[in-house]
Each structure stands twice: as C-alpha cells, then as structure tokens.
C-alpha cells in the first residue's frame, strides 16, 4: 500500500501517510488530529474522512470502531457568508 497516494481527507488533501505521521507523534484522538492537521474541517465537514479515520485508529488500538470518540459537532453545517449571518445589519 502506498500511504502517500491514499487520500483520507479530500477537503484538506490529507494522505494516509500524513495522518499516520501525526498519530506517530502522539496525537491519537480524532479531536487532536483535527486540531493538528485540519482533518474533517473542510466544506464536507468530515462526512468522508471521519468514516475512515475511526477505522485507522481502531486498527491501531486493536479495538472496535465504537470505542473511538468522535469530535464535537457544531453549527454551521455548510459554508455560509458573514453577510448572511449579519442579516440586514450587513446591508447598511
């Protein structure tokens, strides 16, 4: 397997090799990995990579996927412009 050609997070263009490197540095929860390399922080909001990273971590720890904690989920769910949030105040 060529981990440098295997994409885990499409939005942030992160390969398996890059993710494994972060894990080897000692960041072993998804919350930490996300903060270090932006995994799951792109426009798809982790809908692809979170289903891959939990499997990678489960395999490393030799446990089931249900043991792997997921990161906090916050609004907004999709891209939104500041002027949308500001509403009419932004028009003036």
């Amino acid at each position: 397997m060529e981990p440098q050609n295997t994409i885990i997070c499409r939005c942030e263009d992160l390969t398996l090799a890059e993710v494994e490197e972060v894990i080897a540095e000692g960041y072993t929860t998804i919350e930490e990995i996300k903060r270090i390399c932006r995994l799951g922080m792109g426009p798809c909001r982790g809908s692809t990579c979170l289903q891959l990273i939990d499997r990678i971590l489960a395999r490393q720890r030799n446990c089931g996927r249900e043991e792997i904690k997921m990161p906090t989920n916050r609004p907004p769910l999709e891209g939104i412009k500041m002027k949308e949030l500001a509403g009419d105040a932004g028009e003036k």
């Binding site: 050609n5 499409r10 289903q51 249900e66 904690k69 609004p75 769910l77 999709e78 509403g87």
Partner: protein, 374 residues
C-alpha cells in the same frame, strides 16, 4: 424569529411523507426545509421499479413516487416547503437556523422531525483521488438525472442493492461493466438484482477488494485482490483490469449532525450504518422536541422511510394537538405496516439494529462529545 408547530428537515421520502401526514392529522404551521433545489431526495434518481414491499409502492418507480408526493404537496399550500433551504444548526434553545436565498433565518418549532438521509462511505486505497472514481450516488445523479454516462469501462465495488442496481443501470446505458466485487462472502442485495447481472455475463466476485487504482491524469486501470475469510489480502491473487471508471457502492452512513447538535443520545450500531440517534417506538429521540425518520436514523430503504416519516409526524402531532384525536389508531396502523415490511429473513439485520438503537435497551455506544448539555 419565526415560530411554527413543526419543522421538517429534509425533503426526501421521509420528510415529504412526514409533511403530508402532519397536515392530514391536523397540524397547521409546517415548515419543510430542503437543501437541494428540488424535492424528492434520492427518489428522483431511482428509475427502477420498487418491489417486495407488499402493499406499499410495489411496481412503482422511485421517481414516480416523488412526483406523487409533489402533486399532493401542491394541494397543501399551508405546508411551507422551501427548496434551497440549508439547515445550518440546531441550537441549545431548540432554535433551528437555516440559510435561504442568501439570508440566515431562525425558526423556533414546537417539534422538529429530522429526515436528513445519509451520505456515502468511501474507501482508502492508493490513488483514490484520481478522476474517474465515483460514489454510486454520483453515478446515479449523472445518469438518471442529467443523462450523462460516467465512462466506458467500469468496475463496481459492492454487491449490495445499490451496487447491483447501479451496475444494471450502467449496462442499460451501454457501458461495459467488467465485474462487481464484494469484500464479504455474500451478496448483500436481493437475488433478483444479482441474477440480472449474472445473466448479462458479468462476474460477481465475492471475497474481493480493490488494491489500487492506476493512471496518470485519470483512472486507466484497477488492481483487485482476493480476501481470505479473516478479510486479509491473499498474496499472488492480484488481477489488473483496464477500466476508466471505478464506482464505489460500499454502504451509507446516516447524516446525524443536527441530531448530535440537538443533544440526542446516539448509539453506534453497525447494522444501521454507523452512529444513529436512539429512539423510542414512536421515533422520538432523547430530546422530546426531536423526532427522526428514514435513513438518518438507520440505513433502510425508501418504503420504510415513508412509513417512518408518517409515524414521526403522527407522534409530533399527538404531542401538540389536544387529546382525543384519532392519531393513536393511525399510529398503530403505521407501526403494523412497518413491522410487516421488516418481517422475514431480509429484515433480520434491521430488526436487530433497531433493537440496539432503542432507548434504554442495550443501546450501542454514544461516541460524541457535546458542546452543551440539556
């Protein structure tokens, strides 16, 4: 801030059925938010006939079911169905935020039904970002909605119903399907679909996985490999196929972001596709304001989603309307239809999964941390 009785997020089969049922049983202020610019959800790409669903929609094509719902909705202008309305968040004061026509709106519903559907699972393999690699949903969108074929020679990964149906639709569009491969030892889809593929001379290879995609600017070939019964690759069984398209149909996972934000108790249930909200028999979550219906509560199929939408709507209406209405009888009837649909060996894993996603009953593990507590 706008108030209403019921907000429904998602205009697919579950959400559409929920909106119509909610109106039918007497709710008057109903919002339906759909992120796409059309209603119907995945139904609009389902050009095949439904079957095996007893009295419910057997023999009808998904796209025609969507049309029926849309016609009914047109007769019900009281239902505010907003197309292109993107739900952005569920906040701790039970306010739903959404973007619509370049503005952000806040809605405070008495009850919310989440019917947000599912997203496709991906696989990790070398060169999995080459152009020519698609999810089965994207292939269906291209072909069945826009009339565009994705390529000329294709490998299908996954022999569940979606993989088999899309492989057959590709064949019908004149595309060469090289093979359907499946990592497990069994074909997950219905035998009817599998035999259509086999009759066309296409091999369905169980215990096979993708090793890598090959190509410079786009997919030029794929290497597949055999798996043993412990899902380990068997050396020396690599096989290269010349293809320009690889289609992934390796399962769906429920879209549960809003449920997590609404602080609903979650459970990891593999049978239902991953993390799902825990619900009671009326489809109410641990947040009493929130009901969940359809694939966003566990991967099943459209007929079940429609019935769940109706059941959730009846539940929300029963909470809001004064007692003494006929809703209880109605709910019993819908539950009977759902039980009927899930009967028999085909429904076994769904029944097992739903038991594990039942409130306070051997529920699966909640993997999420929350930004606020109820």
């Amino acid at each position: 801030m706008q108030k209403c009785e019921l907000a429904i997020v998602g205009g697919g089969p579950a959400g559409l059925a929920a909106a119509l049922k909610a109106r039918e049983v007497g709710l008057e202020e109903i919002y339906l938010l759909e992120r796409d610019n059309f209603l119907g959800g995945q139904l609009v790409k389902q050009t095949h006939q439904f079957f095996g669903s007893h009295k419910q929609f057997a023999g009808i094509r998904g796209i025609d079911i969507a049309e029926k719902f849309k016609d009914k909705l047109e007769d019900r202008p009281e239902i505010k169905a907003l197309k292109g309305a993107v739900a952005q968040g569920y906040y701790e004061d039970d306010v739903l935020g959404y973007s619509y026509r370049d503005k952000f709106f806040k809605l405070k519903p008495e009850k919310t039904i989440l019917a947000t559907g599912a997203s496709e699972k991906m696989l990790s393999f070398p060169n999995n970002d080459l152009p020519g690699i698609y999810g089965a949903g994207a292939v269906q969108t291209l072909m069945n909605q826009y009339g565009i074929v994705p390529g000329e020679k294709i490998l299908m990964i996954g022999a569940g119903n979606i993989g088999l149906i899309v492989a057959y639709q590709l064949l019908q569009a004149g595309i060469e399907v090289k093979a359907v491969i499946e990592a497990t030892g069994r074909i997950g889809g219905y035998a009817v679909h599998a035999s259509k593929i086999r009759r066309a001379g296409i091999p369905i290879l169980t215990y096979h996985t993708i090793k890598e995609a090959r190509g410079n600017e786009e997919v030029e070939a794929v290497v597949i490999q055999q798996l043993d019964e412990d899902w380990q690759t068997v050396p020396g069984t690599e096989q290269e196929m010349a293809v320009d398209t690889i289609c992934l149909a390796v399962g769906l996972t429920p879209k549960v972001d809003l449920a997590i934000q609404a602080n609903c108790q979650m459970a990891y249930v593999a049978e239902l596709g991953g993390d799902v909200p825990v619900r009671d028999k009326n489809l109410q979550t641990s947040n009493p304001r929130v009901y969940i219906a359809g694939d966003s509560a566990g991967i099943e199929e459209a007929t079940a989603a429609i019935l769940e939408g109706e059941l959730a709507a009846a539940g929300a209406a029963a909470d809001i309307l004064p007692e003494g209405s006929a809703i209880d009888r109605e709910r019993a009837e819908i539950k009977e239809k759902l039980a009927d649909l899930r009967r028999g060996p085909v429904g076994e894993h769904i029944r097992r999964g739903l038991t594990r996603a039942r409130r306070n009953q051997n529920a699966g593990r909640d993997r999420y941390t929350r930004s606020w507590k109820s």
